[in-house]
Subunit: 443 residues, 2 copies
C-alpha cells in the first residue's frame, strides 16, 4: 500500500468506544493524517441504536442497520467489532474474516474464550486479527509483548488491569473506606457499573490475563483453569495491617513461569510499597513485565474509557493500513493458534510469599501452636504482627495475629491453615493473601 | 518473507551492547525462535578489538576485521551499528544503506545530529533505519510513539532518560548526599563514567529528547537549539526544601506543545510526589507521554546496560526480518526527514511553574520587596517557605526564602530574578528550578 492509499473501515457497535473511534476517524482525522501515510476512511457505522452516535455528533450518512452489506462491502478492508459479548460479536468477526477482511476488536471476553479459533479462521482467509484494545485500554501492552519485548523470554507478568477494582482498593487504602462504601462511591462517580460483578469478581481481569499470558508465553491458555478471586470479600483490617507491614493491596493478574509450568491467577495481593505497581492509584492500570533481557519494564495508563480505548483501536487500524498487522500476524510465533497448550499449574502448586491473619484466643502459647503447624508444612515465618488487644467486644472473634511467610507452596499453606483453623484456640477462619515483591531479575 | 526465512546480520561494534546482542542471537537463539518465525542469523562480528567478544564466549569464527566485506556481503540483510560516536559510525551506516541493507543502531548522538540525512539516505536506497535502542534502553519507547500511540496528537513528553543522573539524584534525595558524594559513589558502583560529563551535563538526555520529540511531533528538531542544564550545580538545600514542599528533583527531558510552538529543554526539575515519575529511583528510566486520546501513559524500565539495550536492538532486527520495520518506515508520516522543522521556542517563551530560592537579609520588608518585583513581572506566588533563621555563619549569605509560583513565562521569571538579585537586601544569586505537575488532560 503506497502512502496515499485508503483503507475502508466498517465500525460495528457504536457505544462509548465506538463513538470515540468514529470521532477520531472523522472530526479528528487531521491528527491521524499528520502521523500516518495511508488514509483511514470510515465507510459504515453499524448498530441497532444510534443514540450514542447521534450524541457524539457523528455523520448520520454513515449509519447503517444492514450488517451484512457493511461487512462485505468491497470498499471495506477492515471491520472493527465493538459490540462486546460472545455471541453476536463472534458472528460478526467470523463473517468479516470469511469475507477476507481484517478484524480489529476490543473484545477481551471473546478473545479469552475463543481467540484461538478466531485466529485460525483469520489465518485460513489470509486476514489478520488485531486486538490491542482488549487489554489495558490506552496502554499499548499487546505491542510491548509481541513487538518491543519480542527478544525476551517473559518470566512474569503482574498486572493491575481493572480500573474499577483499583479505584475501589485505592479508596479503601487511602481513605479507609470499607469495600461496600468504596463500591458505592465508585458507582456514584460512574467508575463502577450498577452490576459490578464482572469487575469486582476478577472475571474481567482474568480475560485480560488469559490474552496477555497466551502471547507472553506463546501458548494456548485455558481461561477456565485460571483461579480467580475478587475483591468483594476483602476486609478493611487486612488493608490496614498490610499497610503497617509495608504493603498495598491490589487486584493483581499474575502470570509466572515456574520450572514445572506456568502459574496464573487473579486475586487481591499485597505488593511491596517499593514496587512501582504499588503507586498506581485510582482508575489507572499498569502492567509489569519481566523479560530475561530487559528485566523489569512497566506500562502505565488509563485502562478504560472511550478515547483511551479508541486510541488502541485506531493504532490497530493504522497497523492494518500499513500492512504491519498482517506481517506480525503472519511472522510471529507467539500467536496461540500456532502454539501448544500451556502447562497451567493448579493454585496449590503456585509459589509465593503469604500474609496470614489468624483470629486467636488471647492466651499464652497460641502463637507457638500456630507456628508449629506452619513449620510442619514447611512454611517459614518472616514476620509476626500482634497488637495489644483492645478491650472490645471483638474479642469474641479472637485477636488478630498477622504472620508473613517466606516463599512457600500454596498447597502447603492451604493445608496448614485448615489445620490451624481446627485448633481450639482459633476463633474465626483465617485469611490468606499472597504477597508480591520485586521479581528476582537475572541481571 | 515466509516464516522459515533467514535474515543475515552483520554486527559492527562488539562492546557491552554488541556482545549482548551477539549472545542473544547465538547462545540464546532458542528464546527468539520460540517467538519469531524468521531466523536471525549472525554472520559477522566486526570490530578492531575482540577482547569483550572473547570474554562473552562468542564464536571466534564470526570475528572479522574487514568491515567492507561484512557490510556488503550479499548474505547480510541488516547491519547493526554499535560503535557509537558520530564519525566512523556514520560512515558504517552510510555504507550499509548505500549497499541496500537495513540498519539498526543505538547511536543517539548520531541520530540527534544527523538522523534526518540518514533517514533520507535509507529512503533513497529503499532500506529502513531502526533505532529503538537509541532511547531509554530496554523500554520500547520509540514503538510507543510511532505505533501504539500513533492515533494521538502528542502534547507533552516528560522523560527521565539518563540512569546515571537519576541514580545520583536519588542518592541526594533519599540519602542526603551532596552532588559530589553521590557522583563518587555512582562511579565506584560502575553507574557513572570516570568522565561523567556527557551524562551529568544533560547532553545525553538532550540527544534522546531530540529523537523522541522529532517522532512525537513529526518534525525536524534542531539539537543545538535545545536548552540543556545538567545536575552538577544542584545544591542539597534545594533538594531538601523541594521535598518539604512535596516535590522530588529529577533531571527531566521535557517536550511540550504550546500554542506558539514546541518547548524543549533538559534540566533538573521538581516533580510533584503525586506524579508517577517521582517514584522512579536509582538507575531506572521512565517516560511519560500525554496524548490527546490516551491522556497520560508512562513507560518504565532499565535505560542502559548490555542486555536491556540488546533487547531493543534485537526487537528491531525482528521487525526488519518480519518486514514491519520497512513498512513503518515507508508508511508513517512522523519521520523527520519527511517533516517540516519544528518551531522551537526559546527558553524565555516556555511556560511552567517555578521554585525560586532567594538569599535575603533577615530584615523586615524583604519579602514585600521581592514580591513586588515578581508582581511587576506578572508572576503570581503560590507558596512561600521561610524557616526560623539559624544562629549560624550562613547568615552572611542571607537566609533562604523559598517561593513557588503559579504558571509563568520563563522570560518574565528571569527578568524578575535579575531585578531581585540587584536588591540591596539580597545576599547571593537566586536559584530557579522549574516545577512539573500532572499535565492537564483533555479528558
Amino acid at each position: 500500500m503506497s502512502r496515499s492509499e485508503t483503507l475502508g473501515v466498517a465500525l460495528v457497535g457504536c457505544g462509548t468506544v465506538g463513538s470515540a473511534v468514529a470521532t477520531m476517524l472523522t472530526r479528528d482525522q487531521e491528527i491521524l493524517r499528520a502521523r500516518l501515510g495511508p488514509h483511514l476512511a470510515l465507510r459504515h457505522i453499524v448498530d441497532v441504536d444510534f443514540s450514542r452516535a447521534q450524541a457524539a455528533g457523528l455523520d448520520q450518512g454513515l449509519f447503517r442497520k444492514d450488517l451484512d452489506a457493511a461487512v462485505t462491502d468491497p470498499a471495506v478492508g477492515v471491520v472493527v467489532e465493538l459490540i462486546g459479548g460472545v455471541t453476536v460479536a463472534r458472528q460478526v468477526i467470523e463473517k468479516a474474516l470469511e469475507a477476507g477482511k481484517c478484524v480489529v476488536t476490543a473484545n477481551k471476553a471473546l478473545l479469552a474464550q475463543h481467540g484461538v479459533e478466531l485466529m485460525a479462521l483469520a489465518r485460513q482467509h489470509q486476514a489478520a486479527l488485531a486486538f490491542e484494545a482488549s487489554c489495558a485500554g490506552g496502554i499499548p501492552i499487546i505491542r510491548a509483548i509481541c513487538d518491543g519485548l519480542i527478544a525476551n523470554r517473559i518470566d512474569a507478568i503482574y498486572g493491575i488491569v481493572n480500573g474499577t477494582c483499583n479505584h475501589i482498593l485505592t479508596a479503601m487504602t487511602q481513605r479507609g473506606r470499607t469495600y461496600a462504601q468504596a463500591l458505592g462511591e465508585a458507582q456514584q462517580a460512574g467508575l463502577a457499573e450498577a452490576d459490578p460483578a464482572l469487575d469486582v469478581s476478577g472475571t474481567d481481569s482474568a480475560h485480560k490475563l488469559a490474552i496477555l499470558a497466551a502471547l507472553a508465553f506463546g501458548a494456548k491458555i485455558d481461561l477456565a483453569a485460571i483461579p480467580v478471586y475478587g475483591i468483594d470479600h476483602l476486609e478493611p483490617c487486612d488493608v490496614v495491617f498490610g499497610g503497617e507491614l509495608g504493603y498495598v493491596v491490589k487486584l493483581l493478574a499474575i502470570a509466572q513461569r515456574q520450572d514445572d509450568g506456568v502459574g496464573l491467577r487473579v486475586r487481591p495481593a499485597f505488593i511491596s510499597k517499593e514496587h512501582p505497581l504499588a503507586w498506581v492509584s485510582g482508575p489507572f492500570n499498569a502492567v509489569s513485565i519481566y523479560g530475561h533481557a530487559t528485566g523489569h519494564t512497566m506500562y502505565y495508563g488509563r485502562g478504560a474509557g472511550g478515547m483511551p480505548t479508541a486510541s488502541a483501536v485506531v493504532a490497530d487500524l493504522a497497523a492494518v493500513a500499513m500492512g504491519t498487522a498482517q506481517r506480525a500476524f503472519d511472522h510471529l510465533a507467539v500467536w496461540p493458534d500456532r502454539a501448544a497448550a500451556a502447562k497451567q499449574l493448579p493454585i496449590e502448586a503456585v509459589r509465593s510469599r503469604y500474609y496470614l491473619r489468624v483470629m486467636a484466643e488471647d492466651a499464652p502459647g497460641v502463637l507457638a501452636q500456630v507456628a508449629a503447624v506452619l513449620g510442619r508444612h514447611r512454611i517459614s515465618i518472616r514476620s509476626v504482627l500482634q497488637h495489644e488487644p483492645l478491650p472490645a467486644a471483638e474479642d469474641a472473634a479472637g485477636v488478630p495475629v498477622v504472620i508473613t511467610t517466606h516463599q512457600a507452596v500454596e498447597g502447603n499453606v492451604r493445608a496448614a491453615l485448615a489445620e490451624v483453623d481446627a485448633l481450639a484456640v482459633i476463633k474465626a477462619p483465617s485469611v490468606c493473601i499472597g504477597i508480591v515483591e520485586e521479581y528476582p531479575e537475572p541481571l
